[in-house]
Amino acid sequence: MSVQEALPFPEPEGAPVLPPVATAPVLELRGVTVRYGQVPALDRVSLRLLPGTVTCLLGENGAGKSTVVQVMSGVRRHDEGELLVDGTAVRFRRPRQARSRGIATIWQDLAVIPLMTVWRNFWLGDEPTRGVWPFRRIDLEAARDGAARGLARVGLPGLNVNQPAAALQPGQRHSLAVARAIHFGARVLVVDEPAAPLTVAQHALVLRTVVAARDAGIAVLFVTSMPGYAHLVGDRFLLLAGGRVAADLTREDVDVEGLTQLMSGGDALATLTAELRRGR
């Protein structure tokens, strides 16, 4: 099977047509456009996340990967198109809304604040409180216990939650981010892999998180720039280039070499498509 044949070109006009799927998607983007001023960071991007499936979002730096993550997790609002959770269109105003809909994110920087304690990091943005305003305060015991329980669930039982997050080792910090992500009952897990070079052990950690979440029936979006690692765990591969979906492939369509080749040629492909459209 040649890679070239399997390569679906971007839809030339109108709304993109997605292949039919067996189960209903938990989360779906339909023709989502996001602009920074006049410049579109995302141009009519469509994707579906299915339970128990790993969808890999690939692309170079600046392809729009992080914008997709931001839209899904409620940090940024989309300008056009639809964001559907369980088939219902939603518009997240803040990250907490996305979290309460079961969309959990492991950020590139892990969103861990080094000088704050582990339990404060765990709850940040959604602390358990008691009392009524203006005497509303953080429920310290519930917060400490909850954080300890959440960390025990990801394989860190007995971790001192009162130490600053800076004292954690990199692996533990990753676990903290995972524990926080799944604490609110994740059905969708967005894993944004760091752009900075990782050690093999760190990569393994990220990949194991992805696989464990998939086995738990969670819909996973794995955002990475490394086709080799993506192919190890991915069921679907979505290639972004210049804010557009340049390719949407399944595991059957493409092998690791094909994916790598596509990645390097993805940008050129988008440019070519744009040229062709303009000429029409």
Partner: protein
């Protein structure tokens, strides 16, 4: 396939928890508290009266006024912000209240209410400008500083025609206002002013806000990593504006305490108070980069300031040496904070 039993156990086995003493060393307030003890010993040996009731009253009096400003600056610094206009805002709000009383014939309480609202308005402008422009808060509040400094002088000159607002004493409501902001408790030969109580209240409130509320968590997160805070949905904009409202309230309190204490106020807004607040906040363990500091540390820093200032006076050192000592303390504090921070972060990264 990875089953639950094979689920990775992340990280290394738990290391021994840090000892109590080691944790104490990493508190932001520890170096300043040590400094207070050293200062009291050094000056107490030269001038034993410093440790009497009179000495303590002066130490606490000097500490209280600087301490209220320093605790406000500390909360700002923890969030990675700074407000240059706090000292001038204090003068401006007391001039506003003073002019309303002496020129418009208002009662003292309504005048104080109006000056509080005005101060909060300035704070809101500061906060909104910082949020909207995204510029360093130092620059934004420098603009406010200039506007307030000039504006206060112009208004006072054109309305009252003087550079000294007085005649506040004896205005309607003076007796009650004096009780709240100016009363004095005499113990032995010490005159303990009510500003000490206000200082303590400010420290307790700031400490409670920082350690026990979601707002405090947001403040630490803002200073620790703005990006992470935004990703986790911490309300960064609202927190920033609230911070400047708090600073403005502290400035109003400082202005009101000065106004009632002197029964008037010289219209001399100038640069300087902010720098002392900043110095005291850093002596109290704040990191200039944000994300680290405590209300207790600010209190300890202010106490050290009061002890040194009074001690130099009582021990008969030349008054100018105070600045020398303060500068040395600042350098020591910067070094100590660096050590504390490294100790906090230093971990074997195998």
């Amino acid at each position: 396939m990875v089953t639950a039993a094979q689920r990775p156990v992340f990280g290394a086995p738990e290391r021994r928890a840090p000892s109590r003493g080691r944790r104490l060393l990493t508190r932001p307030s520890t170096p300043a508290l040590a400094g207070v003890v050293v200062a009291l010993v050094v000056f107490g040996v030269q001038a034993p009266q410093l440790l009497g009731a009179g000495g303590w009253a002066s130490v606490l009096d000097a500490a209280a006024l600087i301490g209220i400003g320093a605790v406000a600056v500390t909360v700002l610094l923890v969030a990675g912000q700074f407000d240059v206009s706090i000292g001038v805002l204090a003068v401006a709000s007391s001039v506003t209240a003073g002019l309303l009383v002496s020129e418009a014939g208002w009662g003292l309480w309504p005048a104080l209410a109006v000056s509080l609202v005005a101060a909060l308005a300035v704070g809101a402008v500061n906060g909104l400008l910082v949020v909207i422009t995204g510029l360093p808060s130092f620059l934004v509040t420098l603009a406010t500083f200039l506007v307030l400094q000039g504006g206060t002088l112009v208004v006072a000159q054109s309305v009252a025609g003087t550079s000294l607002v007085d005649g506040v004493e004896g205005a309607p409501g003076w007796a009650s206002a004096d009780a709240v902001f100016g009363s004095v408790l005499v113990l032995g030969d010490g005159r303990f002013r009510v500003s000490i109580v206000w200082w303590a209240a400010a420290v307790l409130l700031a400490g409670w806000l920082l350690r026990r509320t979601r707002f405090g968590n947001a403040v630490y997160a803002l200073g620790g990593s703005r990006r992470a805070a935004r990703e986790l949905g911490v309300p960064t904009a609202w927190t920033t504006v609230a911070l400047y409202l708090l600073t403005a309230t502290a400035a109003w309190l400082l202005g009101t305490l000065a106004l009632v204490r002197q029964g008037g106020v010289p219209v001399a807004p100038g640069f300087g108070a902010e720098i002392e607040y900043l110095v005291v906040a850093v002596i109290g363990g704040c990191l200039l980069g944000g994300g680290y500091g405590s209300a207790v540390g600010a209190a300890a820093g202010a106490l050290l300031y009061g002890a040194v200032r009074t001690g130099i006076g009582v021990a008969g050192w030349p008054p100018q040496s105070f600045q020398v000592v303060l500068g040395v303390l600042l350098v020591v504090a910067l070094l100590a904070n660096g050590v504390a921070r490294r100790r906090l972060i230093a971990v074997p990264r195998s």
